[in-house]
């Protein structure tokens, strides 16, 4: 897959292959194209060339909202919450694709729509508890610290019931001693809920500990793609990224 913006080649023939049930780490220096890759996968950007396949479907043939329906959900590096709404409502928006009540059934509060709403509230609260956000559930998200907002984003993405979860720098804004909690959470999401994860993160230690495979991007090119130990020993990776740490 390749994409360029004007003169900048943000992704240059990058191929990744994520197996179901895998935690796939993606690292690389700032500006190497990690977020751009996310944006292509979630159909916010259209690559200039290449192909994206998810569960045997051609993702590039879908509109952005249909990708989520197919079971692919994401968080944003720089937060994209619904800022006037509280945590519960943000998470309930995450449940949008798993429900179908429309203007008429919602306005008339038809029995099936009310039942569905109750089910959504159940799902939302299960994820809110899982991420430990009960205490702030009714707070406006804009009043929460950055790290908590990142947690809300993750909860919202999980509430959509994804098969593949894209996490863009989930450790951003959280304190050092909370990293291990995040690590356990990422493992739990995969192990207990069977969700495949594509993890972009600058905390290399975290990525190396949780990932089954790690790919490294540098200036839009993939320079490594292997198990975490092997990647850490790769001289090219050390030169481009790890060595600069």
């Amino acid at each position: 897959m390749s994409i360029n913006f004007g003169g900048i080649v943000a992704l240059d023939g990058v191929t990744i292959d994520i197996a179901p049930g895998e935690i796939f780490g993606l690292i690389g220096p700032n500006g190497s194209g990690k977020t751009t890759l996310f944006n292509c996968l979630s159909r916010l950007y259209t690559p200039n060339s290449g192909r994206i396949e998810f569960k045997g479907q051609d993702v590039l043939a879908l509109a952005p909202h249909q990708v989520t329906t197919l079971g692919l959900s994401r968080t944003f590096q720089n937060l994209a919450l619904f800022s006037s709404m509280n945590v519960v409502d943000n998470v309930l928006v995450g449940c949008h694709v798993r429900s179908r009540s429309d203007y008429v059934s919602a306005a008339l509060r038809l029995p099936w729509a009310r039942r569905e709403e109750d089910e959504l509230i159940d799902v939302a609260w299960r994820w809110i508890s899982e991420l430990g956000l009960e205490k702030v559930a009714y707070e406006a998200v804009s009043d929460l610290p950055f790290g908590t907002q990142k947690q809300v984003e993750m909860t919202r993405a999980l509430a959509s019931g994804p098969d593949l979860l894209l996490l863009d720098e989930p450790a951003g804004g959280i304190a050092h001693d909370e990293i291990s909690g995040l690590e356990r959470l990422i493992r739990r999401i995969r192990d207990e809920h069977g969700i495949t994860i594509l993890l972009v993160e600058h905390n290399v230690g975290l990525v190396m500990r949780v990932s089954d495979r790690v790919a490294v991007l540098d200036f839009g090119k993939k320079i490594a793609d292997a198990g975490p130990e092997e990647v850490q020993r790769d001289p090219e990776v050390i030169r481009a990224y790890l060595g600069t740490e």
């Binding site: 952005p64 990708v67 203007y103 306005a107 959509s160």
Partner: protein, 344 residues
């Protein structure tokens, strides 16, 4: 689910002067309904007629609020949808002899279709550009209504005189009181529907699009569909208001639906509270009564200054209550409320 889970899941319900907020809400609602029912018995017919018009404006303002307040799409042209509703009702009554009550769903449907259609070009326009496009709609509407080729239906510049409905004998009401109850019943029903809508899945999608369209579509919301549908629903609400106004006022003419009407509706949205359902009632009352009040107030000094007085009141409100009257009430309640105590 265990009891503690349920308690945790229910939204905070703080106390205000020793009473839970939810109780206050129910009490205020009951008192409000009582006032609405009692009003015609306490006033002269002309005042009842005025109050009916305020209720009509409230419906139109709620329609615009669904679009602007809840979905973030600006419209400076809702007067056009009001006109569509009014003319649909007037033409059906006078040219086709339809019963006035039956013209309302038809007017809603016509306005919905036109609003939904307008929603498509609106998808390509953001913020100010959408405001401009809808402005064009507002200024074009009166001229289209005067257009000679349509004169047989629209009555051209003269407009249409619509027979005012009479109160059914069994009610024992004056015609004005009957129309008041008729209008208020529609208003209450439409408010309940809107309140249900905005607190459920489609309403959350509308608000999500307003807050962050990219994240909304990343969460699987079909944003073009929701924006066009919301445009249609909004136009339908405003069309219903127009339809009721046709036979309540008893007259429709192109110059009743100028750009000024569109602006007045937007003023109602802002004053009542952007993104507040109940705020639309305050908005309706404001749009109807405050210009008169400003005129009387300014009349003490000089008749020519009534709009200056209106402007001053408006600036004061926007300045003092940035979230409208509904926002002010909410703010006062939150200030006065004690934090939630667990138990009881």
């Amino acid at each position: 689910m265990p009891q503690s889970d349920l308690a945790r899941r229910s939204p905070p319900d703080p106390k205000l002067f020793g009473l839970r907020l939810s109780r206050w809400n129910r009490t205020m609602l009951a008192l409000g309904l009582l006032a609405i029912v009692a009003a015609p018995h306490l006033m002269e017919d002309f005042s009842v007629f005025q109050l009916t018009k305020a209720a009509i404006y409230a419906i139109a303002i709620l329609g615009l609020n669904l679009l602007t307040g809840f979905n973030g799409q600006f419209s400076l042209g809702h007067g056009a949808f009001y006109a569509v509703g009014a003319y649909t009702s007037a033409i059906l009554m006078t040219s086709f002899g339809m019963h006035y009550a039956l013209t309302i769903p038809v007017a809603a449907l016509v306005a919905f279709v036109i609003g939904f259609g307008f929603g498509f070009p609106a998808l390509r326009l953001e913020g100010l550009y959408l405001a401009l496009a809808t402005f064009a709609l507002a200024v074009a509407a009166p001229q289209l209504l005067k257009f000679s080729a349509l004169e047989d239906f629209t009555g051209g510049v003269q407009g249409i005189v619509v027979p005012r409905p009479q109160a059914p004998a069994w009610t024992g009401l004056s015609d004005d009181a009957w129309l008041y109850y008729f209008t208020v019943a529609w208003m209450l029903a439409l408010f309940v529907l809107a309140a249900n809508l905005v607190n459920a899945r489609p309403g959350r999608a509308m608000k999500a699009i307003r807050d962050n369209p990219i994240a909304a579509s990343a969460m699987g919301i079909n944003t073009p569909l929701y924006k066009t549908l919301t445009f249609g629903v909004s136009a339908a609400y405003t069309g219903v208001a127009g339809a009721i106004s046709a036979f309540v006022v008893g007259f429709v003419a192109p110059d009743s639906f100028t750009f000024f009407l569109s602006v007045a509706l937007l003023v109602g949205v802002v004053v009542g509270g952007i993104g507040s359902v109940t705020g639309a009632i305050f908005g309706g009352l404001f749009v109807l009564y405050v210009p008169n009040f400003a005129e009387e107030f300014a009349g003490v000094f000089s008749k020519g200054l009534s709009w200056a007085a209106y402007g001053t009141i408006l600036i004061a409100i926007v300045y003092l209550m940035p979230s409208g009257l509904a926002g002010l009430v909410r703010w006062l309640v939150m200030r006065a409320a004690q934090p939630r105590q667990t138990g009881d």
